[in-house]
């Protein structure tokens, strides 16, 4: 990566690691209207690791995740206070363009949501609007290979993405995000709409992807968190209850509420 000198506080040299974390939140509060969905969340996400956020429905985990690349702003009633630091820049600073933030912090959603375009175009589109000038066929092939979808679709790249199965669509959505070469991939329950086999494929994929990307995955499937993540955060009613190495959190929880949740007493 090219090392360009910093010209102002919104331009950051790529590759410089000012912070120990890929992403860090400080006193993050998120409201929907008058009700607070996330309370004073302060946590850091390690580089090139998979961090899982678990918790029962309504605990604010998805809300928190969606605030990391300012996707919450698409909801009219949502309001965010506090800081989300990416390369030392608070993404909520008034001078920051959310469009630029999202280009570096990609996202995969709960339900596969490919565009109503061809498979090829689903991947090429994002790169094109972001000014990619290289070889699109190469980019498409490379991105599809990264998500182990290439062999399944290489003969029907011109066909509509809707012709794929749900699991293939979701891998296409991951390929689409990966094609932009983001630094962070946010995944909001990416396998909750998929069958067990497709789920396993995506989980295998995460191991591969974390060599290059920082992955933050929200899941309400605790087994999944245990299988795929290096660090796990447990949230409850908008609070971060416990945040530790995954093994530590599952085998040796410090907080009683964490223990109750992971042992299936509620949630």
């Amino acid at each position: 990566m090219q090392h360009t000198p910093t010209t102002d506080r919104f331009e950051v040299a790529l590759g410089s690691e000012e912070s120990a974390y890929a992403l860090e939140t400080r006193n993050l509060n998120i409201y929907y209207g008058d009700s607070r969905a996330v309370n004073e969340l302060s946590m850091g996400f390690d580089r090139r690791k998979v961090t899982a956020i678990i918790g029962p429905s309504g605990c604010g985990k998805s809300t928190a995740l969606r605030s990391f690349n300012r996707m919450n702003e698409l909801i009219a009633s949502a309001r965010t206070e506090g800081e989300v630091l990416f390369h030392g820049v608070n993404v909520y600073d008034p001078g920051v363009d959310p469009v630029q933030v999202r280009r570096w912090i990609g996202m995969v959603f709960q339900k596969p949501n490919p565009f109503s375009k061809s498979i090829h175009e689903n991947i090429a589109w994002g790169a094109r609007i972001n000014g990619y000038t290289g070889d699109f066929d190469e980019l498409v092939e490379d991105s599809l290979k990264r998500v182990a979808l290439w062999d399944e679709v290489k003969d029907k790249l011109k066909e509509s993405a809707y012709a794929l199965s749900g699991g293939q669509q979701q891998r296409l959505c991951i390929a689409r995000a990966v094609a932009l070469k983001p630094e962070i991939l946010l995944m909001d329950e990416p396998t909750s709409a998929l069958d067990p086999i497709s789920t396993a494929k995506i989980e295998d994929l995460l191991d591969e992807l974390k060599k290059q990307y920082t992955i933050i995955i929200v899941t309400h499937n605790m087994q999944q968190a245990g299988r795929v993540s290096d660090r796990t955060a447990f949230m409850l009613l908008g609070d971060l209850v416990e945040y530790a190495d995954t093994k530590e959190l599952f085998f040796n929880p410090r907080d009683e509420r964490t223990e109750n949740y992971i042992s299936g007493r509620f949630g």
Partner: protein, 331 residues
């Protein structure tokens, strides 16, 4: 009205106690241990069903009646004028027995396409604004205002075309180039008339594109414009195409504006600055005069009306098929 009658009848039945069937009690123990699954007679139900069927039948019967009248009267016309002459003749002069529909048809085409050239881009732009950009409060004020446009009597539009738009065009392009009656003026104003139809149909189409597609685009660093124009509009293509065709069908059938502003005299021309008479405009002018029944002039109107009917029917069927064929099925 119909629902009011149904309501009154239901109230009456309730008072008279005929809605409940049988005189035995409600709970099994009041029925002395009897449990009956016998089919209960429900006269009200059948009566209402018949009434509702009648309401639906009225509109179908009317349409059928129109087709019969158009068919029989045109049949009389086509006995004396060959279909070939009707469709290929370049002149429409009933007084000297020339019945070629081309001048009328071309004029209709000119005004309708002009109208669509105004209504589609503007309507789509309005729809994108309303569906993607406008805040809820702006949307709620703007939509009724647009609907008012559709509620203005078309005769008012006609005079607006004749007394405001035409003088403006003549000032802009030169008195000698633009005739007092011209298809351009009529078409432009008709575009404004159709605008609300297009914008509201397009807005429905855009709004029904699932939010997950918007999220997907934004999450890839797309701007609002890129998301709207490159993701949402293509995804709503079928609805937009249907809106276009329904708008065209409305333009083809529109009468008052073209009768007032486009011209009164058939003329075969593609120049929108000259006067020409559309199919609808011709029917209005001729049927307004003293016209003897059973004359060729009289029957020729039904032949024109049949062409109009078939073209709008064709356009409506086409729009339905487009919606069916290109509709994306989202989970």
């Amino acid at each position: 009205m119909a629902s009011f009658i149904v309501y009154c009848y239901a109230r009456f039945c309730k008072k008279a106690g005929t809605m409940k069937h049988g005189t035995i009690g409600f709970y099994p123990e009041e029925r002395l241990g009897r449990l009956s699954f016998r089919r209960a007679p429900r006269p009200t139900e059948r009566l209402i069903q018949a009434f509702l069927f009648f309401c639906a039948a009225v509109s179908i019967l009317t349409t059928a009646g129109i087709i019969v009248v158009l068919g029989t009267e045109s049949a009389g016309f086509f006995k004396e004028v060959s279909i070939l002459e009707f469709f290929t003749g370049k002149e429409w002069q009933p007084s000297i027995g020339k019945f070629g529909i081309a001048p009328l048809f071309v004029a209709t085409l000119t005004t309708s396409l002009t109208a669509m050239a105004v209504a589609l881009p503007l309507g789509l732009a309005v729809a994108i604004y309303l569906a993607e950009y406008a805040r809820p409060r702006v949307r709620e004020t703007l939509k009724p205002v647009l609907e008012v446009l559709a509620g203005v009597p078309t005769v008012a539009y006609g005079y607006f075309a004749l007394t405001v738009v035409t003088p403006f065009l003549r000032g802009l392009l030169g008195q000698e180039n633009v005739e007092v009656y011209n298809t351009l003026s009529a078409g432009l104003v008709m575009g404004v008339l159709i605008l609300p139809l297009i914008s509201s149909m397009c807005e429905d189409a855009l709004s029904s594109v699932p939010g997950s597609l918007r999220e997907a685009a934004y999450a890839m660093g797309a701007t609002k414009l890129e998301t709207s124009v490159k993701i949402i509009v293509p995804a709503a293509f079928s609805g937009i195409a249907a809106a276009f065709i329904l708008g065209l069908s409305r333009a083809v059938g529109e009468t008052m504006i073209v009768a007032l502003a486009a011209g009164a005299g058939p003329r075969l021309t593609l120049n929108p600055l000259r006067s020409a008479e559309t199919m609808t405009g011709h029917i209005v002018r001729i049927s307004g005069g003293d016209l003897s029944y059973d004359s060729m002039d009289y029957r020729s109107l039904f032949a024109i009306a049949l062409v109009l009917f078939v073209s709008t029917l064709f356009l409506n069927i086409l729009s339905r098929n487009i919606v069916k064929k290109y509709r994306e099925v989202y989970e």
